[in-house]
Symmetry: C2
Subunit: 134 residues, 2 copies
DNA sequence: TATTCATATTAGAATAGTTCTAAATTGTCT
DNA sequence: AGACAATTTAGAACTATTCTAATATGAATA
């Protein structure tokens, strides 16, 4: 039944069910846990599982998932790295510069007194806080 | 007198006064204006001024300036790009994803109700908000 | 079920921004 | 001026990501 669930998840988000997408979706969403992931990690995991998918395809897949709203991108880490979050609810992170470890911030840790207003002619598409610790 | 000012600025921050550093400091700090800059932009400007400095040196210089506290790094933009800010006071930015334009957020635009607390064993070294607009 | 065709996959090349290397140069301290 | 550590430099190397273009594959249709 697992593959059925993945199938409906993908089609419900307007994504064709290809083998790579199904495998990536199973890896990321099957257990319902929140994850911070990179393309490299996904490719490695699938490789270990004997379900190798080309790295370029993993990138395509993660970008498709993001556009479809299945993943969120985490900005503000090291330049040159894309990290995705399976938790697409707005929330914030601590980033340990020494260990590279990324953890969710408890929702209560940060609350805004006043929301920022976008400059004229633009609208806010995303914002998130990365608090860098050491 | 300008070069004297730059000289004292550099030495006051523990930096040896080399030609590249003096030129970069003049470009960035002479007029007291706030700037968002990249290594490429600095190298181009110096080139136009007939004071060419190797790109690798510009990177070295900007990183030295940052460690010395003369510049701040802006995180949270496109992965793969380092942007520095001559305004080292804590403040936040709007980032226009379409135009690439980066603007300071008026201080009043965003206020925190509660500051986040670092995870045990770590201390906060930096945090900033990048609000992405379109 | 066979056909069709837009969409997706893939390997490998290309790209972009940044850092590294190692040799030559240059500040600064005596 | 002499000495030496720090800095500069050109170009190579590196890394993460995207592109290319040929091949394969879902899924809609007949």
């Amino acid at each position: 039944m697992k593959s059925f669930d993945t199938h409906t998840l993908l089609t419900a988000h307007g994504l064709r069910c290809t083998r790579p997408r199904v495998k990536v979706a199973e890896l990321l969403f099957a257990d319902g846990q929140d994850r911070h992931i990179t393309a490299e990690w996904v490719a490695d995991e699938l490789g270990k599982m004997g379900e190798a998918v080309a790295l370029a395809t993993v990138y395509n897949t993660l970008n498709s998932f993001m556009e479809a709203g299945l993943l969120a991108q985490i900005n503000g880490l090291e330049a040159g790295r894309y990290v995705f979050d399976t938790n697409t609810e707005p929330h914030h992170h601590f980033y340990n510069e020494t260990t590279g470890c990324l953890t969710d911030m408890p929702p209560s840790a940060l609350r805004f007194y006043k929301m920022p207003e976008a400059p004229a002619g633009t609208e806010i598409v995303d914002w998130q806080v990365v608090v860098r610790v050491r």
